[in-house]
Amino acid sequence: MPGDIIAKDSNYTVRGAAIIRHDGNIVATRVGLLRIKGREINVIPLTGRYIAQKGDSIIGIVVDYSLVYWLLEINYVWKARLDASDYLKRPFDPSKERITKYLRVGDVVYAKIAHTERGMPPIVTCRDSGYGKLEGGRLISISPAKIPRVIGVKGSMLEAIKRITKAEIKVGANGIIWVRAERPEIEELVEYAIKKIEKESHLSGLTKRIQNELIRGMHKIQRGEWQ
C-alpha cells in the first residue's frame, strides 16, 4: 500500500515502478502484492490503468484512419498509430489503393508497441509473426493490472485455459483479451473464467481452482447443460 515501508535493508534490488527508495527504506507507491525473490523485491500492482511500454503485445480497435495509417483505441491515454506499411508488411502507396480495403473502423487488431515517447501517442506494428487482424470471436475487457495473472507464471494459466477449452486466445497487455472457440458456449466459459481470475487475482491457488472450474464447465457444455 502507498507509504508502506517494505524493507529497511538496502541490500535488495528494487524492480518495477510500484516501489521507491527513501532514506534507506524501500517504500511501496501502489496497492499491490509483494514478491521477494532472493534479493530482488517487487510490488505487483492490483489496480491501475494501462501504461504503454515498448514491446507490449496489445489488442486495439480501429476507430479512425487517414490516408496512410489507422488509429487504434488501446485503452491508453492516447490512441495508437498503426502505419499501413507496418500492417501490410510492404510499401503502401495511398495514391494507388485505399487504406479501408484492409482495415475498417471497428476491426480488431493484435499488434506490438513499436515505439513510445514521453507525452506522445504510441506507434504500433504488426511486422512480427503472429500479429494482425483478429476475425470472429469475442473481446473480453479486464483491468490491465490483472493481465499477468491471466497469463500466469511462465504462461501456466493461459496454457491451462487453452489446453482445456481448445480455444484460440490472444492476450493484450492493455487489458483486452480476444477469444475464439468452436462454440459460443466455450467462449462464454472462457470469459467467465477470465472474469473470475480478474476478481480473485490476489489470491493463491488460483490456477488450480480455475482449472477445475474449466473442466467442470467443459463437461457441462458437452452435456448441453451450460447456460
Partner: protein
C-alpha cells in the same frame, strides 16, 4: 431529514467551559469514520469517506489525455481537482454554480495531494479528481482529501504515501480535534493534511486568530489524530481485497 445542530456562541462557550463539546465527544475524539473504497465501476478509482455527518464521494479518472489540450504540460501531468457541494448537501439548497469557495478549496485539495504524486511520470496527461460533498457538516475539505487519496490509490496512481487530513480547532482555551459544524462556526479552525509515513505536512491553514504558543501542541494533537485516520484508510484499502477473498472462499 435532520437539520444540523444549532447553537449560539454563548451556549457553546458555556458548554465548552463546563468541559464538554457541542456533540459530547472527548477533546481529542474523532467523529465516527466510515470508509468504502471502490464505489463506482466506470472510473479508475473511487472512495466514499464519512466523518460523522460529513460525507464525501471522490472519483478519480486518469491518467488520461489532457483536455483542454492547451493546458497540457510537456513536463508533467496536470492534476485537476474539482471540489463541489451537492445542492442537497446543506440545510438550505446550495446553488450548483461553482462558488468562489469551491474553486478555492479545489486548489487547496490539489496542493495537499500533489506532493504525494509522481506527476512528472505522466507528461502531457491529466489526472482528474472529483470530490462531491454529499452531506456537509464541517470538515469537508479534510474529508475530501482523505477520500481523494484513497481514490488515487485505488486508481493505481503511484503515490509516495496516502494523504490523511483532519481539522484541529482552538476553542475557548481548549484544543479540539475534528470540529463539528457548531464548533467550526465559532472556533479557530486549523485544517492539517500530512503524509504520515514521511511525517510531512502538505496542508496547513489557519483562518482565525489563535495564540502562537499553542501551535506546537495543536500540531501534535493533529498529528496523532491523523495517524488514527491513516490507519483506518489503510484498513479500508486492504478490506476491499479481503472481502473479495472471503467471497471466493465461500464460493468453493
Amino acid at each position: 431529514m435532520a437539520m444540523s445542530l444549532k447553537m449560539s456562541e454563548e451556549e457553546l462557550r458555556r458548554l465548552m467551559e463546563s468541559g464538554r463539546r457541542a456533540d459530547g465527544r472527548a477533546w481529542d475524539e474523532l467523529r465516527p469514520i466510515r470508509i468504502q473504497v471502490g464505489v463506482t465501476e466506470r472510473a479508475e478509482g473511487s472512495a466514499l469517506f464519512e466523518m460523522g455527518r460529513t460525507r464525501v464521494l471522490c472519483v478519480v479518472r486518469g491518467p488520461m489525455e489532457c483536455i483542454p489540450s492547451h493546458m497540457a504540460d510537456p513536463e508533467k501531468a496536470i492534476l485537476d481537482v474539482a471540489y463541489r457541494m451537492a445542492t442537497f448537501s446543506t440545510d438550505e439548497r446550495k446553488s450548483p454554480t461553482p462558488s468562489r469557495r469551491e474553486i478555492e478549496l479545489s486548489k487547496i485539495i490539489r496542493e495537499a495531494l500533489e506532493p504525494a504524486l509522481f506527476l512528472e511520470e505522466y507528461p502531457r496527461m491529466m489526472i482528474k479528481v472529483y470530490c462531491l460533498v454529499l452531506q456537509a457538516d464541517a470538515g469537508t475539505r479534510t474529508a475530501s482529501i482523505n477520500a481523494a487519496s484513497l481514490a488515487l490509490a485505488h486508481a493505481g496512481i503511484p503515490m509516495r504515501d496516502l494523504v490523511s487530513s483532519v481539522a484541529v480547532g482552538y476553542c475557548y482555551g481548549r484544543i479540539v480535534v475534528d470540529l463539528c459544524s457548531v464548533e467550526d462556526e465559532f472556533c479557530a479552525d486549523v485544517p492539517i493534511a500530512m503524509m504520515p509515513a514521511y511525517n510531512k505536512i502538505t496542508l496547513l491553514q489557519a483562518d482565525h486568530r489563535l495564540p502562537i504558543d499553542k501551535f506546537p501542541e495543536l500540531l501534535e494533537v493533529g498529528r496523532r489524530a491523523i495517524e488514527r485516520i491513516y490507519q483506518l484508510q489503510k484498513k479500508a484499502l486492504r478490506d476491499m481485497y479481503v472481502s473479495i477473498a472471503k467471497e471466493a472462499s465461500e464460493g468453493e
